[in-house]
Protein backbone atom coordinates (compact mmCIF):
# COMPACT_ATOMS: atom_id res chain seq x y z
CA UNK A 1 0.00 0.00 0.00
CA UNK A 2 1.57 3.25 -1.16
CA UNK A 3 1.81 5.86 1.57
CA UNK A 4 2.32 9.30 0.05
CA UNK A 5 3.60 10.88 3.26
CA UNK A 6 6.25 8.19 3.77
CA UNK A 7 7.27 8.45 0.14
CA UNK A 8 7.97 12.20 0.31
CA UNK A 9 9.07 12.36 3.96
CA UNK A 10 12.79 12.49 3.06
CA UNK A 11 12.25 15.57 0.90
CA UNK A 12 10.00 17.17 3.54
CA UNK A 13 12.62 16.50 6.20
CA UNK A 14 15.50 17.97 4.24
CA UNK A 15 13.53 21.11 3.31
CA UNK A 16 12.57 21.65 6.94
CA UNK A 17 16.14 21.00 8.07
CA UNK A 18 17.39 23.57 5.54
CA UNK A 19 15.07 26.27 6.81
CA UNK A 20 15.75 25.48 10.47
CA UNK A 21 19.50 25.66 9.84
CA UNK A 22 19.06 28.95 7.99
CA UNK A 23 17.13 30.46 10.89
CA UNK A 24 19.64 29.01 13.36
CA UNK A 25 22.51 30.53 11.39
CA UNK A 26 20.90 33.95 11.05
CA UNK A 27 19.88 34.18 14.70
CA UNK A 28 23.16 33.03 16.25
CA UNK A 29 25.65 34.53 13.82
CA UNK A 30 24.19 37.99 14.45
CA UNK A 31 23.98 37.50 18.19
CA UNK A 32 26.00 40.00 20.21
CA UNK A 33 25.53 37.85 23.33
CA UNK A 34 27.57 35.01 21.75
CA UNK A 35 30.06 37.47 20.24
CA UNK A 36 29.02 36.89 16.63
CA UNK A 37 30.33 33.32 16.35
CA UNK A 38 31.45 31.83 13.01
CA UNK A 39 28.90 29.13 12.34
CA UNK A 40 30.16 27.48 9.17
CA UNK A 41 31.47 24.33 10.92
CA UNK A 42 28.53 24.16 13.31
CA UNK A 43 25.95 24.41 10.52
CA UNK A 44 28.14 22.07 8.47
CA UNK A 45 27.95 19.28 11.04
CA UNK A 46 24.21 19.79 11.48
CA UNK A 47 23.81 19.78 7.70
CA UNK A 48 25.76 16.53 7.44
CA UNK A 49 23.53 15.03 10.13
CA UNK A 50 20.44 16.18 8.20
CA UNK A 51 21.69 14.52 5.01
CA UNK A 52 22.41 11.27 6.88
CA UNK A 53 18.96 11.29 8.50
CA UNK A 54 17.38 11.93 5.08
CA UNK A 55 19.37 8.98 3.76
CA UNK A 56 18.09 6.77 6.59
CA UNK A 57 14.50 7.91 5.99
CA UNK A 58 14.87 7.11 2.31
CA UNK A 59 16.51 3.75 2.93
CA UNK A 60 13.90 2.85 5.53
CA UNK A 61 11.10 3.23 2.96
CA UNK A 62 10.67 -0.17 1.37
CA UNK A 63 12.07 -0.35 -2.13
CA UNK A 64 9.23 -0.65 -4.57
CA UNK A 65 9.89 -3.87 -6.35
CA UNK A 66 8.38 -3.84 -9.86
CA UNK A 67 5.81 -1.28 -8.74
CA UNK A 68 6.12 2.34 -9.64
CA UNK A 69 3.98 4.93 -7.99
CA UNK A 70 3.06 8.31 -9.36
CA UNK A 71 2.06 11.03 -6.95
CA UNK A 72 1.22 14.72 -6.69
CA UNK A 73 -0.96 14.86 -9.76
CA UNK A 74 1.38 12.38 -11.52
CA UNK A 75 4.17 14.97 -11.53
CA UNK A 76 6.59 12.71 -9.63
CA UNK A 77 7.39 9.03 -9.74
CA UNK A 78 8.82 6.69 -7.12
CA UNK A 79 10.38 3.46 -8.37
CA UNK A 80 13.61 1.47 -8.04
CA UNK A 81 15.46 3.87 -10.29
CA UNK A 82 14.44 6.93 -8.25
CA UNK A 83 15.11 5.17 -4.97
CA UNK A 84 18.68 4.13 -5.70
CA UNK A 85 19.60 7.36 -7.53
CA UNK A 86 18.46 9.40 -4.54
CA UNK A 87 20.41 7.22 -2.11
CA UNK A 88 23.49 7.62 -4.26
CA UNK A 89 23.00 11.39 -4.47
CA UNK A 90 22.67 11.72 -0.70
CA UNK A 91 25.82 9.61 -0.15
CA UNK A 92 27.73 11.91 -2.53
CA UNK A 93 26.43 15.01 -0.77
CA UNK A 94 27.40 13.62 2.63
CA UNK A 95 30.89 12.82 1.32
CA UNK A 96 31.29 16.31 -0.13
CA UNK A 97 30.11 18.08 3.04
CA UNK A 98 32.49 15.99 5.15
CA UNK A 99 35.40 17.32 3.05
CA UNK A 100 34.53 20.93 3.84
CA UNK A 101 35.19 21.29 7.55
CA UNK A 102 38.93 21.75 7.42
CA UNK A 103 38.46 24.13 4.49
CA UNK A 104 36.28 26.39 6.68
CA UNK A 105 39.03 26.60 9.30
CA UNK A 106 41.99 26.96 6.95
CA UNK A 107 40.44 29.57 4.68
CA UNK A 108 38.56 31.31 7.54
CA UNK A 109 35.41 30.75 5.54
CA UNK A 110 32.60 32.22 7.55
CA UNK A 111 29.53 31.77 5.38
CA UNK A 112 27.16 29.23 6.97
CA UNK A 113 24.81 29.87 4.04
CA UNK A 114 27.13 27.66 2.01
CA UNK A 115 25.83 24.53 3.74
CA UNK A 116 22.23 25.78 3.62
CA UNK A 117 22.52 26.25 -0.14
CA UNK A 118 24.08 22.81 -0.58
CA UNK A 119 21.13 21.27 1.29
CA UNK A 120 18.64 23.28 -0.78
CA UNK A 121 20.30 22.22 -4.02
CA UNK A 122 20.29 18.60 -2.80
CA UNK A 123 16.56 18.92 -2.22
CA UNK A 124 16.17 20.24 -5.77
CA UNK A 125 18.16 17.31 -7.09
CA UNK A 126 16.03 14.83 -5.14
CA UNK A 127 12.95 16.29 -6.82
CA UNK A 128 14.74 16.28 -10.17
CA UNK A 129 15.41 12.55 -9.93
CA UNK A 130 11.78 11.76 -9.17
CA UNK A 131 10.30 14.30 -11.64
CA UNK A 132 7.98 12.75 -14.20
CA UNK A 133 6.76 15.87 -15.98
CA UNK A 134 8.58 18.54 -17.95
CA UNK A 135 7.33 21.31 -15.65
CA UNK A 136 8.32 19.50 -12.46
CA UNK A 137 11.69 18.67 -14.00
CA UNK A 138 12.36 22.27 -14.99
CA UNK A 139 11.38 23.70 -11.60
CA UNK A 140 13.64 21.19 -9.83
CA UNK A 141 16.52 22.01 -12.22
CA UNK A 142 16.11 25.70 -11.47
CA UNK A 143 16.03 25.12 -7.71
CA UNK A 144 19.31 23.20 -8.02
CA UNK A 145 20.96 25.63 -10.46
CA UNK A 146 20.17 28.84 -8.59
CA UNK A 147 21.83 27.45 -5.47
CA UNK A 148 24.89 26.49 -7.51
CA UNK A 149 25.25 29.98 -8.98
CA UNK A 150 25.45 31.40 -5.46
CA UNK A 151 27.80 28.85 -3.92
CA UNK A 152 30.19 29.21 -6.86
CA UNK A 153 30.61 32.86 -5.77
CA UNK A 154 30.59 32.10 -2.03
CA UNK A 155 34.18 33.13 -1.41
CA UNK A 156 33.39 36.82 -1.40
CA UNK A 157 36.92 38.10 -0.98
CA UNK A 158 38.14 36.24 -4.05
CA UNK A 159 37.83 37.76 -7.52
CA UNK A 160 38.11 34.32 -9.10
CA UNK A 161 35.15 33.05 -7.11
CA UNK A 162 33.02 36.07 -8.02
CA UNK A 163 33.99 35.69 -11.68
CA UNK A 164 33.15 31.98 -11.56
CA UNK A 165 29.74 32.69 -10.01
CA UNK A 166 28.93 35.36 -12.57
CA UNK A 167 29.99 33.17 -15.51
CA UNK A 168 27.99 30.26 -14.14
CA UNK A 169 24.92 32.47 -13.64
CA UNK A 170 24.96 33.86 -17.17
CA UNK A 171 25.72 30.61 -18.95
CA UNK A 172 23.53 28.51 -16.67
CA UNK A 173 20.58 30.86 -17.14
CA UNK A 174 21.14 30.72 -20.89
CA UNK A 175 21.10 26.90 -20.91
CA UNK A 176 18.02 26.83 -18.67
CA UNK A 177 16.33 29.16 -21.13
CA UNK A 178 17.15 26.83 -24.01
CA UNK A 179 15.87 23.86 -22.00
CA UNK A 180 12.61 25.66 -21.24
CA UNK A 181 12.24 26.67 -24.88
CA UNK A 182 12.60 23.02 -25.85
CA UNK A 183 9.99 22.00 -23.29
CA UNK A 184 7.60 24.65 -24.59
CA UNK A 185 8.08 23.49 -28.19
CA UNK A 186 7.35 19.90 -27.18
CA UNK A 187 4.24 21.05 -25.34
CA UNK A 188 3.18 23.21 -28.27
CA UNK A 189 3.58 20.35 -30.75
CA UNK A 190 2.15 17.53 -28.65
CA UNK A 191 0.01 19.16 -25.96
CA UNK A 192 1.69 16.94 -23.37
CA UNK A 193 4.27 17.45 -20.66
CA UNK A 194 3.89 14.16 -18.81
CA UNK A 195 6.55 11.59 -19.68
CA UNK A 196 4.04 8.75 -20.11
CA UNK A 197 2.07 10.78 -22.65
CA UNK A 198 5.27 11.90 -24.38
CA UNK A 199 6.42 8.29 -24.59
CA UNK A 200 3.19 7.32 -26.37
CA UNK A 201 3.37 10.26 -28.76
CA UNK A 202 7.09 10.36 -29.48
CA UNK A 203 8.12 6.70 -29.60
CA UNK A 204 9.01 5.83 -33.15
CA UNK A 205 7.83 9.18 -34.44
CA UNK A 206 10.76 9.31 -36.85
CA UNK A 207 9.76 5.99 -38.37
CA UNK A 208 6.00 6.39 -38.55
CA UNK A 209 6.24 9.54 -40.59
CA UNK A 210 4.61 11.68 -37.90
CA UNK A 211 7.59 13.99 -37.96
CA UNK A 212 7.18 17.53 -36.91
CA UNK A 213 9.78 20.26 -36.91
CA UNK A 214 8.40 21.46 -33.57
CA UNK A 215 8.98 18.09 -31.94
CA UNK A 216 12.40 17.74 -33.52
CA UNK A 217 13.53 21.23 -32.44
CA UNK A 218 12.04 20.72 -28.98
CA UNK A 219 13.97 17.50 -28.42
CA UNK A 220 17.10 19.13 -29.82
CA UNK A 221 16.82 22.13 -27.47
CA UNK A 222 16.15 19.94 -24.44
CA UNK A 223 19.19 17.83 -25.38
CA UNK A 224 21.33 20.97 -25.71
CA UNK A 225 20.15 22.23 -22.32
CA UNK A 226 21.02 18.93 -20.66
CA UNK A 227 24.36 18.61 -22.46
CA UNK A 228 25.28 22.06 -21.23
CA UNK A 229 24.57 21.09 -17.64
CA UNK A 230 26.65 17.91 -17.80
CA UNK A 231 29.55 19.85 -19.44
CA UNK A 232 29.54 17.76 -22.59
CA UNK A 233 31.38 19.05 -25.63
CA UNK A 234 30.60 21.42 -27.41
CA UNK A 235 28.88 23.02 -24.42
CA UNK A 236 31.77 22.58 -22.01
CA UNK A 237 33.44 26.00 -22.26
CA UNK A 238 32.24 27.20 -18.89
CA UNK A 239 33.42 24.22 -16.90
CA UNK A 240 37.20 24.72 -16.55
CA UNK A 241 36.93 28.40 -15.59
CA UNK A 242 34.15 27.84 -13.08
CA UNK A 243 35.72 24.70 -11.62
CA UNK A 244 39.00 26.55 -11.18
CA UNK A 245 37.55 29.78 -9.80
CA UNK A 246 35.09 28.29 -7.32
CA UNK A 247 36.18 27.23 -3.85
CA UNK A 248 37.46 23.63 -3.98
CA UNK A 249 34.57 22.03 -2.01
CA UNK A 250 32.15 23.73 -4.42
CA UNK A 251 34.10 22.34 -7.36
CA UNK A 252 33.92 18.88 -5.81
CA UNK A 253 30.17 19.22 -5.35
CA UNK A 254 29.67 20.59 -8.89
CA UNK A 255 31.67 17.71 -10.37
CA UNK A 256 29.68 14.99 -8.65
CA UNK A 257 26.14 15.72 -7.52
CA UNK A 258 24.53 17.47 -10.52
CA UNK A 259 25.85 14.83 -12.90
CA UNK A 260 23.93 12.12 -11.00
CA UNK A 261 20.66 14.06 -11.10
CA UNK A 262 21.00 15.36 -14.67
CA UNK A 263 21.85 11.91 -16.04
CA UNK A 264 18.86 10.49 -14.18
CA UNK A 265 16.71 13.17 -15.85
CA UNK A 266 18.25 12.49 -19.26
CA UNK A 267 17.42 8.80 -18.91
CA UNK A 268 13.83 9.56 -17.93
CA UNK A 269 13.20 12.14 -20.65
CA UNK A 270 15.08 10.56 -23.52
CA UNK A 271 15.30 6.82 -22.96
CA UNK A 272 11.73 6.54 -21.73
CA UNK A 273 10.11 9.65 -23.22
CA UNK A 274 11.63 9.77 -26.68
CA UNK A 275 14.50 7.91 -28.26
CA UNK A 276 15.23 8.13 -31.94
CA UNK A 277 18.04 8.10 -34.46
CA UNK A 278 18.51 11.87 -34.30
CA UNK A 279 18.97 11.91 -30.55
CA UNK A 280 21.32 8.96 -30.73
CA UNK A 281 23.43 10.76 -33.33
CA UNK A 282 23.59 13.90 -31.17
CA UNK A 283 24.80 11.92 -28.18
CA UNK A 284 27.21 9.90 -30.35
CA UNK A 285 28.82 13.09 -31.56
CA UNK A 286 28.93 14.71 -28.10
CA UNK A 287 30.36 11.56 -26.56
CA UNK A 288 33.16 11.30 -29.14
CA UNK A 289 33.91 15.03 -28.96
CA UNK A 290 33.96 15.02 -25.14
CA UNK A 291 36.31 12.04 -25.00
CA UNK A 292 38.70 13.56 -27.54
CA UNK A 293 38.67 17.07 -26.08
CA UNK A 294 38.90 15.81 -22.51
CA UNK A 295 41.98 13.77 -23.43
CA UNK A 296 43.76 16.39 -25.53
CA UNK A 297 42.97 19.56 -23.57
CA UNK A 298 43.95 18.06 -20.23
CA UNK A 299 47.45 17.43 -21.57
CA UNK A 300 48.08 21.17 -21.78
CA UNK A 301 46.99 21.98 -18.22
CA UNK A 302 49.37 23.11 -15.51
CA UNK A 303 46.86 23.53 -12.69
CA UNK A 304 45.45 20.59 -10.78
CA UNK A 305 41.84 21.79 -10.65
CA UNK A 306 41.70 22.61 -14.35
CA UNK A 307 43.15 19.21 -15.15
CA UNK A 308 40.43 17.56 -13.08
CA UNK A 309 37.82 19.74 -14.85
CA UNK A 310 38.93 18.50 -18.29
CA UNK A 311 39.17 15.01 -16.90
CA UNK A 312 35.53 15.25 -15.84
CA UNK A 313 34.61 16.45 -19.34
CA UNK A 314 36.33 13.37 -20.75
CA UNK A 315 34.53 11.12 -18.29
CA UNK A 316 31.18 12.60 -19.27
CA UNK A 317 32.06 11.51 -22.80
CA UNK A 318 32.66 7.94 -21.60
CA UNK A 319 29.41 7.94 -19.62
CA UNK A 320 27.48 9.23 -22.67
CA UNK A 321 28.59 6.08 -24.51
CA UNK A 322 26.15 4.18 -22.31
CA UNK A 323 23.36 6.55 -23.22
CA UNK A 324 24.19 6.48 -26.93
CA UNK A 325 23.71 2.70 -27.05
CA UNK A 326 20.04 2.93 -26.11
CA UNK A 327 20.02 -0.60 -24.69
CA UNK A 328 19.51 -1.95 -21.18
CA UNK A 329 23.21 -2.84 -21.07
CA UNK A 330 24.03 0.73 -22.12
CA UNK A 331 21.94 2.22 -19.35
CA UNK A 332 23.41 -0.22 -16.85
CA UNK A 333 26.94 0.69 -17.92
CA UNK A 334 26.04 4.40 -17.67
CA UNK A 335 24.87 3.95 -14.07
CA UNK A 336 27.97 1.91 -13.16
CA UNK A 337 30.12 4.59 -14.80
CA UNK A 338 28.50 7.41 -12.84
CA UNK A 339 28.82 5.58 -9.52
CA UNK A 340 32.49 4.80 -9.99
CA UNK A 341 33.20 8.27 -11.42
CA UNK A 342 31.57 9.90 -8.38
CA UNK A 343 33.68 7.92 -5.94
CA UNK A 344 36.90 8.55 -7.87
CA UNK A 345 36.13 12.28 -8.04
CA UNK A 346 35.39 12.43 -4.30
CA UNK A 347 38.74 10.78 -3.72
CA UNK A 348 40.56 13.17 -6.06
CA UNK A 349 39.04 16.31 -4.61
CA UNK A 350 39.61 15.17 -1.03
CA UNK A 351 43.30 14.89 -1.93
CA UNK A 352 43.28 18.28 -3.64
CA UNK A 353 41.67 19.80 -0.53
CA UNK A 354 44.27 18.14 1.68
CA UNK A 355 47.02 19.57 -0.52
CA UNK A 356 45.43 23.02 -0.68
CA UNK A 357 46.40 23.47 2.92
CA UNK A 358 49.97 23.41 1.73
CA UNK A 359 49.11 25.79 -1.10
CA UNK A 360 49.47 23.22 -3.86
CA UNK A 361 47.81 24.76 -6.90
CA UNK A 362 50.00 23.79 -9.83
CA UNK A 363 50.95 20.31 -10.98
CA UNK A 364 54.59 21.27 -10.52
CA UNK A 365 53.96 21.79 -6.79
CA UNK A 366 53.26 18.09 -6.41
CA UNK A 367 56.95 17.36 -6.75
CA UNK A 368 58.40 15.16 -3.99
CA UNK A 369 54.98 14.51 -2.42
CA UNK A 370 56.14 10.90 -2.27
CA UNK A 371 58.93 11.99 0.08
CA UNK A 372 56.85 14.26 2.32
CA UNK A 373 53.70 12.12 2.48
CA UNK A 374 54.17 8.75 0.75
CA UNK A 375 50.76 7.31 1.71
CA UNK A 376 48.97 10.34 0.25
CA UNK A 377 51.09 10.04 -2.88
CA UNK A 378 50.15 6.35 -3.20
CA UNK A 379 46.45 7.23 -2.72
CA UNK A 380 46.65 9.91 -5.41
CA UNK A 381 48.44 7.48 -7.70
CA UNK A 382 45.73 4.86 -7.22
CA UNK A 383 43.09 7.48 -8.05
CA UNK A 384 44.95 8.59 -11.17
CA UNK A 385 45.45 5.02 -12.37
CA UNK A 386 41.75 4.40 -11.82
CA UNK A 387 40.86 7.53 -13.83
CA UNK A 388 43.16 6.24 -16.57
CA UNK A 389 41.27 2.93 -16.61
CA UNK A 390 44.14 0.69 -15.63
CA UNK A 391 43.13 -2.74 -14.29
CA UNK A 392 42.35 -4.02 -11.72
CA UNK A 393 40.98 -0.73 -10.41
CA UNK A 394 37.35 0.40 -10.49
CA UNK A 395 37.85 2.89 -13.34
CA UNK A 396 38.91 0.04 -15.61
CA UNK A 397 35.73 -1.86 -14.76
CA UNK A 398 33.48 1.10 -15.61
CA UNK A 399 35.21 1.75 -18.97
CA UNK A 400 35.26 -1.98 -19.76
CA UNK A 401 31.53 -2.26 -19.29
CA UNK A 402 30.83 0.95 -21.24
CA UNK A 403 32.92 -0.20 -24.20
CA UNK A 404 31.33 -3.63 -24.16
CA UNK A 405 27.87 -2.05 -24.17
CA UNK A 406 28.94 0.00 -27.20
CA UNK A 407 30.26 -3.10 -28.98
CA UNK A 408 27.08 -4.97 -28.11
CA UNK A 409 24.91 -2.43 -29.92
CA UNK A 410 27.25 -2.17 -32.91
CA UNK A 411 28.84 1.20 -32.07
CA UNK A 412 32.36 -0.01 -32.91
CA UNK A 413 33.71 3.45 -33.73
CA UNK A 414 32.53 4.77 -30.36
CA UNK A 415 34.33 1.98 -28.53
CA UNK A 416 37.47 2.53 -30.62
CA UNK A 417 37.53 6.28 -29.85
CA UNK A 418 36.98 5.45 -26.18
CA UNK A 419 39.94 3.08 -26.08
CA UNK A 420 42.25 5.47 -27.97
CA UNK A 421 41.33 8.46 -25.77
CA UNK A 422 41.81 6.34 -22.65
CA UNK A 423 45.33 5.58 -23.79
CA UNK A 424 45.99 9.28 -24.53
CA UNK A 425 44.53 10.16 -21.13
CA UNK A 426 47.02 7.85 -19.45
CA UNK A 427 49.70 10.38 -20.36
CA UNK A 428 48.52 13.21 -18.13
CA UNK A 429 47.36 10.97 -15.30
CA UNK A 430 50.67 9.16 -15.13
CA UNK A 431 52.48 12.49 -15.53
CA UNK A 432 51.05 13.44 -12.12
CA UNK A 433 52.37 10.20 -10.67
CA UNK A 434 55.77 10.87 -12.22
CA UNK A 435 55.81 14.36 -10.68
CA UNK A 436 55.02 13.01 -7.23
CA UNK A 437 57.58 10.23 -7.26
CA UNK A 438 60.43 11.39 -9.49
CA UNK A 439 60.46 15.20 -9.61
CA UNK A 440 61.60 17.81 -7.15
CA UNK A 441 59.33 20.82 -6.58
CA UNK A 442 60.18 24.43 -7.34
CA UNK A 443 59.81 25.25 -3.65
CA UNK A 444 59.71 22.65 -0.88
CA UNK A 445 56.33 22.64 0.84
CA UNK A 446 55.90 21.67 4.46
CA UNK A 447 53.33 19.00 5.13
CA UNK A 448 50.29 19.97 7.23
CA UNK A 449 48.27 17.20 8.85
CA UNK A 450 45.00 16.18 7.31
CA UNK A 451 41.80 16.10 9.34
CA UNK A 452 40.04 12.87 10.27
CA UNK A 453 37.00 13.37 8.00
CA UNK A 454 39.09 13.59 4.85
CA UNK A 455 41.36 10.74 5.88
CA UNK A 456 38.41 8.41 6.53
CA UNK A 457 36.73 9.42 3.27
CA UNK A 458 39.98 8.86 1.38
CA UNK A 459 40.52 5.48 3.06
CA UNK A 460 37.00 4.27 2.20
CA UNK A 461 37.01 5.48 -1.38
CA UNK A 462 40.54 4.15 -2.00
CA UNK A 463 39.55 0.72 -0.70
CA UNK A 464 36.50 0.77 -2.96
CA UNK A 465 38.58 1.74 -6.00
CA UNK A 466 41.17 -0.94 -5.27
CA UNK A 467 38.92 -3.82 -4.22
CA UNK A 468 35.83 -3.25 -6.36
CA UNK A 469 36.79 -5.85 -8.95
CA UNK A 470 36.79 -8.59 -6.28
CA UNK A 471 33.07 -8.17 -5.55
CA UNK A 472 31.25 -6.10 -8.21
CA UNK A 473 28.04 -8.14 -7.98
CA UNK A 474 25.92 -5.77 -5.79
CA UNK A 475 26.58 -2.77 -8.04
CA UNK A 476 25.88 -4.81 -11.18
CA UNK A 477 22.61 -6.15 -9.75
CA UNK A 478 21.39 -2.79 -8.49
CA UNK A 479 22.17 -0.98 -11.75
CA UNK A 480 20.49 -3.75 -13.73
CA UNK A 481 17.38 -3.30 -11.57
CA UNK A 482 17.51 0.46 -12.05
CA UNK A 483 17.80 0.10 -15.82
CA UNK A 484 14.89 -2.35 -15.96
CA UNK A 485 12.66 -0.21 -13.75
CA UNK A 486 12.93 2.63 -16.26
CA UNK A 487 10.82 0.47 -18.55
CA UNK A 488 8.70 -1.71 -16.28
Amino acid sequence: MFNLFLAVFPEIFIINATFILLIHGVVFSTSKKYDYPPLASNVGWLGLLSVLITLLLLAAGAPLLTIAHLFWNNLFRRDNFTYFCQIFLLLSTAGTISMCFDFFDQERFDAFEFIVLILLSTCGMLFMISAYDLIAMYLAIELQSLCFYVIAASKRKSEFSTEAGLKYLILGAFSSGILLFGCSMIYGSTGATHFDQLAKILTGYEITGARSSGIFMGILFIAVGFLFKITAVPFHMWAPDIYEGSPTPVTAFLSIAPKISIFANILRVFIYGSYGATLQQIFFFCSIASMILGALAAMAQTKVKRLLAYSSIGHVGYICIGFSCGTIEGIQSLLIGIFIYALMTMDAFAIVLALRQTRVKYIADLGALAKTNPILAITFSITMFSYAGIPPLAGFCSKFYLFFAALGCGAYFLALVGVVTSVIGCFYYIRLVKRMFFDTPRTWILYEPMDRNKSLLLAMTSFFITLFLLYPSPLFSVTHQMALSLYL
Binding site: P63, L65, T66, N373, I375, L376, T379, Y447, P449, M450, D451, R452, K454, S455, L456, L458, A459, M460, S462, F463, L467, Y471, S473, P474, S477, V478, H480, Q481, L484, S485, Y487, L488
Partner: protein
Protein backbone atom coordinates in the same frame (compact mmCIF):
# COMPACT_ATOMS: atom_id res chain seq x y z
CA UNK B 1 29.50 -17.58 4.28
CA UNK B 2 28.61 -15.33 7.22
CA UNK B 3 31.96 -16.10 8.85
CA UNK B 4 33.96 -15.18 5.77
CA UNK B 5 31.91 -12.00 5.28
CA UNK B 6 32.46 -11.07 8.93
CA UNK B 7 36.18 -11.69 8.70
CA UNK B 8 36.57 -9.78 5.44
CA UNK B 9 34.47 -6.91 6.79
CA UNK B 10 36.47 -6.76 10.01
CA UNK B 11 39.71 -6.72 8.02
CA UNK B 12 38.35 -3.96 5.81
CA UNK B 13 37.31 -1.90 8.83
CA UNK B 14 40.68 -2.38 10.48
CA UNK B 15 42.46 -1.55 7.26
CA UNK B 16 40.39 1.59 6.76
CA UNK B 17 41.22 2.90 10.22
CA UNK B 18 44.92 2.07 9.84
CA UNK B 19 44.96 3.70 6.37
CA UNK B 20 43.27 6.78 7.83
CA UNK B 21 45.95 7.03 10.54
CA UNK B 22 48.67 6.53 7.95
CA UNK B 23 47.28 9.37 5.79
CA UNK B 24 47.42 11.67 8.81
CA UNK B 25 51.01 10.56 9.47
CA UNK B 26 50.03 9.09 12.82
CA UNK B 27 51.10 5.70 14.26
CA UNK B 28 49.02 2.98 12.60
CA UNK B 29 47.54 1.68 15.88
CA UNK B 30 46.92 5.05 17.54
CA UNK B 31 43.68 4.99 19.56
CA UNK B 32 43.16 1.24 19.22
CA UNK B 33 39.53 1.48 20.29
CA UNK B 34 38.85 3.21 16.96
CA UNK B 35 40.20 0.10 15.23
CA UNK B 36 37.76 -2.05 17.22
CA UNK B 37 34.88 0.22 16.19
CA UNK B 38 36.10 0.06 12.59
CA UNK B 39 36.25 -3.74 12.68
CA UNK B 40 32.73 -3.92 14.10
CA UNK B 41 31.32 -1.51 11.53
CA UNK B 42 33.18 -3.31 8.76
CA UNK B 43 31.81 -6.70 9.82
CA UNK B 44 28.26 -5.35 9.95
CA UNK B 45 28.68 -3.63 6.59
CA UNK B 46 30.04 -6.77 4.89
CA UNK B 47 27.26 -8.99 6.25
CA UNK B 48 24.57 -6.52 5.24
CA UNK B 49 26.15 -6.15 1.80
CA UNK B 50 26.08 -9.92 1.24
CA UNK B 51 22.45 -10.15 2.38
CA UNK B 52 21.53 -7.20 0.19
CA UNK B 53 23.28 -8.81 -2.79
CA UNK B 54 21.24 -12.01 -2.35
CA UNK B 55 18.01 -9.99 -2.10
CA UNK B 56 18.96 -7.91 -5.15
CA UNK B 57 19.53 -11.06 -7.22
CA UNK B 58 16.13 -12.47 -6.17
CA UNK B 59 14.37 -9.17 -6.98
CA UNK B 60 16.18 -9.00 -10.31
CA UNK B 61 15.00 -12.52 -11.20
CA UNK B 62 11.40 -11.49 -10.45
CA UNK B 63 11.76 -8.38 -12.64
CA UNK B 64 13.33 -10.35 -15.48
CA UNK B 65 10.60 -13.01 -15.27
CA UNK B 66 7.98 -10.28 -15.44
CA UNK B 67 9.70 -8.73 -18.47
CA UNK B 68 10.02 -12.15 -20.15
CA UNK B 69 6.33 -12.92 -19.54
CA UNK B 70 5.32 -9.53 -20.95
CA UNK B 71 7.44 -10.12 -24.04
CA UNK B 72 5.99 -13.60 -24.56
CA UNK B 73 2.48 -12.26 -24.22
CA UNK B 74 3.23 -9.46 -26.64
CA UNK B 75 5.14 -11.37 -29.29
CA UNK B 76 4.89 -15.16 -28.99
CA UNK B 77 1.13 -15.49 -28.40
CA UNK B 78 0.43 -13.01 -31.17
CA UNK B 79 2.95 -14.77 -33.41
CA UNK B 80 1.43 -18.19 -32.65
CA UNK B 81 -2.01 -16.89 -33.49
CA UNK B 82 -0.77 -15.31 -36.70
CA UNK B 83 1.10 -18.54 -37.69
CA UNK B 84 -2.10 -20.55 -37.22
CA UNK B 85 -4.08 -18.08 -39.28
CA UNK B 86 -1.40 -18.08 -41.96
CA UNK B 87 -1.28 -21.86 -42.17
CA UNK B 88 -5.08 -22.00 -42.32
CA UNK B 89 -5.04 -19.43 -45.11
CA UNK B 90 -2.29 -21.35 -46.89
CA UNK B 91 -4.35 -24.56 -46.81
CA UNK B 92 -7.35 -22.82 -48.30
CA UNK B 93 -5.31 -21.30 -51.08
CA UNK B 94 -3.23 -24.31 -52.17
CA UNK B 95 -4.16 -26.68 -55.04
CA UNK B 96 -4.86 -29.47 -52.58
CA UNK B 97 -7.59 -27.47 -50.89
CA UNK B 98 -10.45 -28.99 -52.93
CA UNK B 99 -9.51 -32.64 -52.38
CA UNK B 100 -8.69 -31.90 -48.72
CA UNK B 101 -12.01 -30.23 -48.10
CA UNK B 102 -13.76 -33.16 -49.80
CA UNK B 103 -11.81 -35.49 -47.52
CA UNK B 104 -12.84 -33.49 -44.47
CA UNK B 105 -16.52 -33.67 -45.56
CA UNK B 106 -16.19 -37.44 -46.17
CA UNK B 107 -14.69 -37.94 -42.70
CA UNK B 108 -17.40 -35.80 -41.14
Amino acid sequence: MALSATMVGALLGLGTQMYSNALRKLPYMRHPWEHVVGMGLGAVFANQLVKWDVKLKEDLEVMLDKARAANERRYFVTKRASIEEESAGRLENCFLSLPLSLLKDRLR
